[in-house]
Symmetry: C2
Subunit: 322 residues, 2 copies
């Protein structure tokens, strides 16, 4: 045992874990819920069978563990049916400050571990249009509640599958998922547009192209699949665009704006012009969504995604009764 | 030389060729513009360098050729900049019954061949929103003119990149391309939806699911990227859907309807309710688009895609002056 891990062991009170589809992140927490250490692995739910989870967790936290039982609070896809052990979705409205009440506890081989997996949330609708699911984001939203108890308002969690969530007095009452990030990746990397777009820069010209595309998608969402092809045609025909890599960056900015704009067209429809959106996520995506919302003259505030998930896991840890 | 090819050689007047991105189709034509024989290869523009086109063409037609020069009229991506020899795009309005006037003639090694490559068409717009290109479809539209001289109206050519074209008195005046087919393939085969959808059947339940999704996309085009994710959520949650392969077929029909509906949302906006759409394409896609248009209570007529391209190539052949 290294000095460092020995040091962690003495101060370790509990472990926070965000176990998603494609990776696992763990944080060693002290008695004041401060982070002492952290680790990550690329073994997400998609790479593991149920029997492999405990060993993968131990591989990351073994050096932290003292000779007593330590609780590990887990959110994310580890609680999916095809994950470690299913933690059934909470129905709406879901009191996010009480996620821990619906947690499940897989049986452990190693008695130093007490694992608690938090549930996701699901939405059903009689007309078939409102089915939706989340696993992990409910914990980030609980983190928002930890910083703003009884929060009422709209939060956006951008990503591969962006979520927009409505909270009323601390309860999740409605949400919608958009295929935004995945659609961008498919189009930029695997469609005919791959010949025309490259990742954009965060400079003025790219931001302008991005914002204009956001507004176009919001104003004319029905043009989306035509606007996509138009990127290719502009690459072939538009003599006002610069050449070389710059051309691809500007068209890449435009593609990003079209896809995010399509999400915002729906998510901001019927939203009062002055209602703020709370963006929860990493620096790159929240900056991009801030620019998109600015293009629509809409206010937003930002909550760091890692801070949110840690605050949510901490809230769940604190509200566990046994 | 086989009896069959000898027979072709005697009657052969010219050769029609549709040379696309991913394949080449050729037809041996007699003096009355009737098809005598046909052949195809999977060597499209994407698989060939300019120097390889003549040999690939000869591989298919060599047995047909008599000891005299035979004209080959080519449409499609062979005329792209990255194809055999560039045939510059026609600007709009483009008189489609005079495509042959803008054809290019690559130099041949084999004096039995006289190759004529027809141009595509391009659209430019000052506001940057209307850039568009076609190569191949202009010849199918010329084929529509061959059957309906001076045609005025709207044609739809469904496919990987669906085209909607406005013709006024035989001239192409405006068109728009939609990424529909490619988007469907990416979503069904490479997104998270691949776990939930399988190819649908042409039965009543699938047609109902398809038509409902078409209407949803047309009524709420801004919901598109949310509606896509909802397919996944329905697969996880919807207890009213049947299980097994049937479940995937119904969700596949719904995916197809959402994507085609997104195209129709734009293409039929501002279109008078009773204005007919001329669908040009193969049996499977024109049937599907007929059902989509029926769901919107819109009339359509069908022109077979192969018949259209042959009629267009024939018109070009007949109007070549040398």
């Amino acid at each position: 045992m290294t000095d460092k891990s020995d040091n962690v062991g003495k101060r370790l009170a509990w472990i926070a874990a965000d176990w998603g589809s494609s990776n696992l992140r763990v944080w060693a927490m002290d008695g004041d819920d401060r982070v002492i250490d952290r680790a990550r692995s690329e073994k997400g739910m998609l790479a593991l069978s149920p029997a492999e989870y405990e060993a993968e967790l131990l591989r990351l936290v073994n050096d932290w563990l003292p000779e007593r039982t330590v609780r590990v609070v887990v959110c994310g896809m580890a609680g999916a049916r095809q994950g470690w052990q299913e933690a059934a979705y909470l129905a709406l409205p879901a009191a996010l400050d009480r996620l821990s009440q619906a947690a499940v506890r897989p049986r452990m081989q190693d008695q130093r571990l007490e694992v608690v997996i938090l549930p996701g949330a699901s939405q059903r609708a009689l007309d078939g249009s409102g089915f939706d699911v989340m696993r992990g984001e409910e914990t980030q939203l609980a983190g928002l509640l930890a910083t703003a108890p009884g929060f009422t308002g709209l939060a956006c969690l951008p990503g591969t599958h962006s979520k927009w969530a409505r909270l009323d007095d601390g309860a999740l009452t409605r949400f919608a998922t958009y295929l935004t990030g995945e659609l961008y990746e498919l189009l930029a990397g695997h469609s005919v547009l791959r010949h025309s777009v490259t990742p954009d820069l965060d400079d003025e010209a790219c931001r302008d192209a991005f914002r204009q595309a956001v507004r176009e998608s919001v104003d004319q969402p029905e043009r989306f699949t035509n606007a996509l092809f138009t990127l290719r045609a502009r690459d072939l025909l538009d003599t006002t665009l610069p050449g070389g890599e710059r051309r691809g960056q500007l068209l890449g900015a435009r593609l990003s704006g079209l896809v995010i704009g399509q999400e915002l067209a729906d998510a901001t429809r019927n939203l009062p012009r002055d209602e703020p959106v709370t963006l929860i996520g990493g620096a790159v995506l929240t900056r991009r969504y801030t620019q998109a919302l600015e293009a629509l003259e809409r206010p937003c505030t930002i909550l760091d995604g890692d801070a949110a998930v840690l605050a949510g896991l901490t809230l769940a840890h604190r509200t566990l009764t046994d």
